[in-house]
Amino acid sequence: MSNLPVVQVTTLKMQFMLLFSRQGKLRLQKWYVPLSDKERKKISRDLVQTILARKPKMCSFLEWRDLKIVYKRYASLYFCCAVEDQDNELITLEIIHRYVELLDKYFGSVCELDIIFNFEKAYFILDEFLLGGEAQETSKKNVLKAIEQADLLQEEAEAPRSVLEEIGLT
């Protein structure tokens, strides 16, 4: 192999996914590349501002630094993925949609509050669907089955709580 193959780089990974509200509050963040806390905060802040400044009906894709941002708004929440420049924008858009469908099915008409109060569930569902930034299981049924099985294990494990604890006084 004395010549380089005429190939572009084809491993394209998702860099991170952010969920944030119209007020710019981060609701979920998932990083698939190692970054320091400081970098993460700066990226989130800059990107949230950039996206909130865009008008509805604008293109769902934008170039940002050397990344491509794919985003979509669902009610009060923005879902935003950063992928590499050559990656497939439309399939990323549908990754977002599939995740929204999963949340919707699991919570039953999901709203922002569900994600705030059950943020850990939102992370678990995401891990079942995407791992390391790649689609792991694209079947809605299979993902939900995995989560529901976990919930069953959870309920079995829970012991009754004292009344004081139940009302959150501990």
């Binding site: 084809t10 497939n88 924008e89 569930k121 791992l131 959870q154």
Partner: protein
């Protein structure tokens, strides 16, 4: 609070979240959080052992606080306890906490790894999945070391559950990305490829990602994946939409998997096997056909998924670049999308067409859409779409449509978004130059650019127009007339004044015959702008005035009056004052002949890479330079000319216009009287001009004049012990014996360098008669007269060095052309009555004059292909002399001077770099690739540059370093 949905009731957590939400101010929130942190801390520290539930709740609260953006510095230990718990629910929270927060506290890693190890061995699929997810989320090197060898066996074991296989595949992929050296290849690889045949589409989907990554690392090992991927793809695209059940997404069969398979195929050239190839072509045709079918659903998800597959198929077609029919069909399909009502599709079509434009098969087809693209530029409401339109116009431009495209871009520029103006200006300037049929059009275009977007016209752009006017006799009169007219405007941009001043100063005589543009009128016009301009522009105008004195004796008195005025002679700015004084003096004492010689018209510039192009290359963006030639690109398309200039240029160096922006752009002077070799570092050429007749000062004789020193025989035993250690670094100790230590500190910029040499007297006795000088022996051997390739000046030093003291010497270097031999530092001094002589090879190598060049992989491969002549490539294979450490290698390549291009090479273990060598006469673009083979402890190094000698020299230098 919402109706609690499923799962557990961590009421305490829900109450806390509600409290935070009810906080009216940031302060209140911080207060509430601090209270909670104190509470949790006391619970964790308390004597009473916490039960699992409480621990879980508190860890969850900490996680919530962290995700709000606050720092968390405790709780890791409790989280590790949780993940080691036998209760799924506790384990899950423990893992989540660790996945999110682990990088801030890695001393727990061995405990975490222990928990993971137990879960992987548990044979409980839910536990195994949690552990695998954690590895994939954290992906640290420590985890790779602990588990990279174990995961392949989980992945290919016959009895592993499907869901575990999926997690294992992607977990391995993550580890391969972070620590590719730790993921062992082995007999499992063949079995991984066969996962493409798995019954379970989820397994195939996860495996396809992994295989794509591995195939880039070692394409040969995964070649068998081609036929499996084609077979799988073929089954998907021909399936009825319900066949794949839950893997059908809005009537599109397995879109994610299809995209991944199409990506995997982009790791390889078109299949060689004819049957396989035709099967793949059929698949691609089917995908293109489906785009024409009526949609099966009105939902946007249907069309998005369908088009995601279509765009990926088009990417593969472009990648293969071998089937003209498919390319043209792809182009037509994209053409339809250009007018689609979905903004997203228009954006993607513009983007994808940019790459099609560079294929010879589809370039013409792309061009037919010019009107639509121009329309997009005018009507799109979203700037990111307009940006794509600009890129596409740039990519589809050729001689046939350049005038139209440049005109449209100019007219768009008047209202263009500020964010893209500078890039557009560069693009217009490049297209105007590249496709100029006559130079009057070029001059008009650039002046228009300055008029419309003067603030965005960088130095490079106006330097370039002057270079071209000076080099093209036939356009000079037109240029003078045009700038004269443009300067009539009451408000004109300062950049126009610069161009106007320079051009009238050189060629004002060509229009002076017309009484409307007589010398006095020209001068008054320029001088009317003078007071509104910044210092650099005024300095340039003063130079234009002295040129006028030579061109037009009749305005001499007027100009002398201006120069003589207090506002010039006593100007607060030293540069302006100096120019005024010197020019005035020159105009008074010099005879007409001397004036005419000194102020002679500028000689042609040596051809070199357009500085504008270099600038645009720095700005990135997809498809930004799809079809511009390599570094040897020049105005009139002739490269012969440039070779000539190089070899006939015997003159001493002139100042670099780029380094000294206050100067006028200045050609490599062929009038040697104008500048002496000693002017390097002076900011003002005319200072030296006035010194011409004076006797050189005593100090000047100490300057090493390269030309005269060539005959000096080099001393014997030149020390080069440490020479090679300086190839990739600039600072360090180059020589040391019992008496003397010599340290170096060097800095380089473009073709210039400066070395600070530190002589340390290690003894307690004074060195006497200390002297040091530098000789450079590398010359252009083909010439009768020796012409140096390096210009080296060592400043004189004190003749004594006290015991224990250090002496500093500055050596300035200018690289004139590519060279091989390094200059030698000759040192002499008396120590205890004996004369010591030391000669040390100074580590000045060709690679020091690198400027790194960042580029996209697309650009990289295009250039790589362009440098395909066998002589341009030099390759060597050598044994590693040092441990093969990725970070060290990265640092060395960066130290070598090139940009390290991450993610360009399909094999992530390889190193790829790019840079431009700057010499005064030319610039040489250089691409390099280093392929380590850890098993054999060998490297293969490949260099491609436009010059054989440069490739060879760089290869020799770098191959010594690993």
């Amino acid at each position: 609070m919402p109706a609690v949905s499923k799962g557990d009731g961590m009421r305490g957590l829900a109450v806390f979240i509600s409290d935070i939400r009810n906080c009216k101010s940031k302060e209140a929130e911080v207060k509430r959080i601090n209270k909670e942190l104190a509470n949790i801390r006391s619970k964790f520290k308390g004597d009473k052992a916490l039960d699992g539930y409480s621990k879980k709740k508190y860890v969850c609260k900490l996680l919530f606080i962290f995700l709000l953006g606050h720092d968390i510095d405790f709780g890791h230990m409790e989280a590790v306890n949780l993940l080691s718990s036998n209760k799924y629910t506790e384990k899950q929270i423990g893992y989540l906490f660790i996945s999110v927060l682990v990088n801030s506290n890695s001393d727990l890693i061995s405990l975490i790894n222990n928990g993971i190890k137990n879960d992987l061995a548990s044979r409980n699929p839910t536990f195994m999945n949690l552990a695998l997810h954690c590895i994939a989320n954290v992906g640290s090197r420590e985890m790779a070391e602990a588990f990279a060898s174990q995961i392949p066996s989980i992945l290919v074991a016959g009895d592993t559950m499907d869901s575990v296989k999926q997690s294992a595949a992607l977990c391995l992929l993550r580890l391969n990305r972070t620590s590719p050296d730790l993921v062992p290849m082995g007999e499992w690889t063949a079995r991984v490829v066969h996962l493409l045949n798995d019954q379970h589409l989820g397994v195939v989907t996860a495996a396809a990602s992994l295989i794509t990554t591995l195939a880039q690392k070692s394409p040969e090992d995964f070649k068998t994946s081609i036929s499996l991927a084609v077979a799988r793809l073929s089954r998907i695209v021909t399936s009825a939409s319900i066949d794949l059940q839950d893997y059908t997404y809005y009537f599109v069969a397995a879109p994610w998997l299809s995209v991944k398979l199409l990506r995997l195929l982009q790791c390889y050239p078109p299949p060689e096997d004819a049957a396989l190839r035709s099967r793949l072509t059929e698949c691609l045709e089917t995908i293109l056909n489906k785009a024409q079918e009526p949609p099966k659903s009105k939902k946007v998800q249907h069309s998005n998924a369908k088009n995601a597959v279509l765009f990926e198929a088009i990417a593969l077609i472009i990648h293969h670049d071998s089937e003209p029919t498919l390319l043209v069909r792809a182009c037509n399909q994209l053409g339809q999308f250009l007018q689609h009502r979905e903004t997203n599709l228009r954006y993607l079509a513009l983007e994808s067409m940019c790459t099609l434009a560079s294929s010879e098969f589809s370039h013409e087809a792309v061009k037919t859409h010019i009107d639509t693209v121009i329309n997009a530029l005018k009507t799109e409401r979203d700037v990111s779409v307009r940006q794509r339109a600009v890129d596409l116009l740039y990519a589809m431009c050729d001689r046939s449509n350049a005038k139209q495209i440049v005109a449209e871009m100019l007219s768009y520029l008047e209202n263009a978004d500020y964010s893209i103006r500078e890039e557009m200006v560069l693009k217009v300037a490049i297209l105007a130059e590249k496709y100029a049929v006559d130079y009057t059009w070029y001059v008009d275009t650039i002046l228009n650019l300055i008029r419309i977007a003067g603030d965005y016209v960088s130095e490079e752009v106006w330097y370039r127009v002057i270079q071209i006017v000076i080099n093209q006799d036939d356009v000079q009169g037109y240029a003078a007339k045009t700038v004269f007219e443009a300067l009539q405007a009451p408000a004109c941009h300062e950049n126009l004044v610069k161009v106007g001043g320079y051009i009238l100063g050189e060629f004002g005589n060509l229009i002076a015959g017309d009484s409307r543009s007589s010398p006095l009128v020209q001068f008054n016009l320029l001088h009317s702008k003078f007071h509104l301009c910044s210092v650099p522009t005024r300095a340039l105008l003063l130079s234009a005035y002295i040129k006028f004195i030579n061109l037009f004796p009749e305005v001499k008195a007027t100009i002398q009056d201006v120069l003589r005025s207090d506002s010039q002679l006593r100007n607060a700015d030293v540069e302006l004052q100096q120019r005024a004084i010197e020019y005035l003096r020159l105009s008074c004492i010099a005879s007409t002949d001397i004036l005419a010689t000194v102020l002679e018209e500028m000689p042609p510039f040596p051809e070199r890479e357009s500085s504008i192009l270099a600038k645009l290359k720095k700005k990135k963006g997809p498809g930004n330079l799809p079809d511009i030639d390599d570094a040897r690109w020049n105005v009139n398309g002739s490269t012969e000319h440039s070779e000539n200039t190089e070899s006939t240029n015997k003159s001493p160096p002139s100042l670099m216009a780029d380094l000294l922006p206050t100067n006028r752009p200045r050609p490599a002077s062929s009038s040697p009287t104008l500048l002496s070799a000693g002017t390097m570092g002076s900011s003002h050429p005319f200072t030296d001009l006035l010194n011409l007749n004076s006797t050189p000062s005593a100090g000047a004789s100490l300057l090493v004049d390269v030309l005269s020193d060539i005959s000096t025989p080099a001393p014997i035993n030149v020390s080069e012990d440490n020479f090679s250690r300086f190839v990739c670094k600039n600072n360090g100790v180059i020589y040391e014996d019992q008496l003397l230590q010599i340290g170096l500190k060097a800095e380089y910029r473009q073709n210039l360098g400066r070395i600070y040499v530190f002589y340390g007297n290690k003894t307690s006795t004074q060195f006497l008669s200390f002297s040091s000088s530098v000789t450079s022996s590398d010359t252009l051997k083909t010439h009768i007269l020796p012409t140096s390739l390096l210009n080296v000046h060592a400043k004189a030093v004190d003749p004594t060095v006290d015991g224990g003291a250090q002496l500093q010497q500055v050596v300035n270097i200018e690289c004139l052309s590519d060279f091989t031999d390094a200059p030698v530092l000759d040192i002499q001094f008396r120590y205890g009555g004996t004369l010591q002589k030391i000669a040390v090879k100074l580590p000045v190598m060709l690679n020091k004059f690198f400027q790194p060049t960042e580029m996209t992989s697309q650009d990289f491969f295009q250039r790589w292909k362009q440098l395909g002549v066998p002589q341009q490539e030099v390759q060597t294979i050598f044994k590693a002399q040092h441990p093969m450490d990725t970070d060290v290698t990265n640092a060395k390549i960066l130290g070598f001077g090139v940009a390290l291009l991450i993610g360009v090479d399909p094999n992530p273990a390889n190193f790829v770099g790019a840079g431009v060598i700057h010499t005064k006469n030319t610039q040489v673009g250089c691409l390099l690739r280093l392929e380590p083979n850890t098993q054999a402890q060998m490297y293969r190094l490949t260099l491609r540059t436009s010059r054989e000698s440069v490739s060879q020299r760089l290869c020799d230098l770098l191959s010594d370093q690993f």
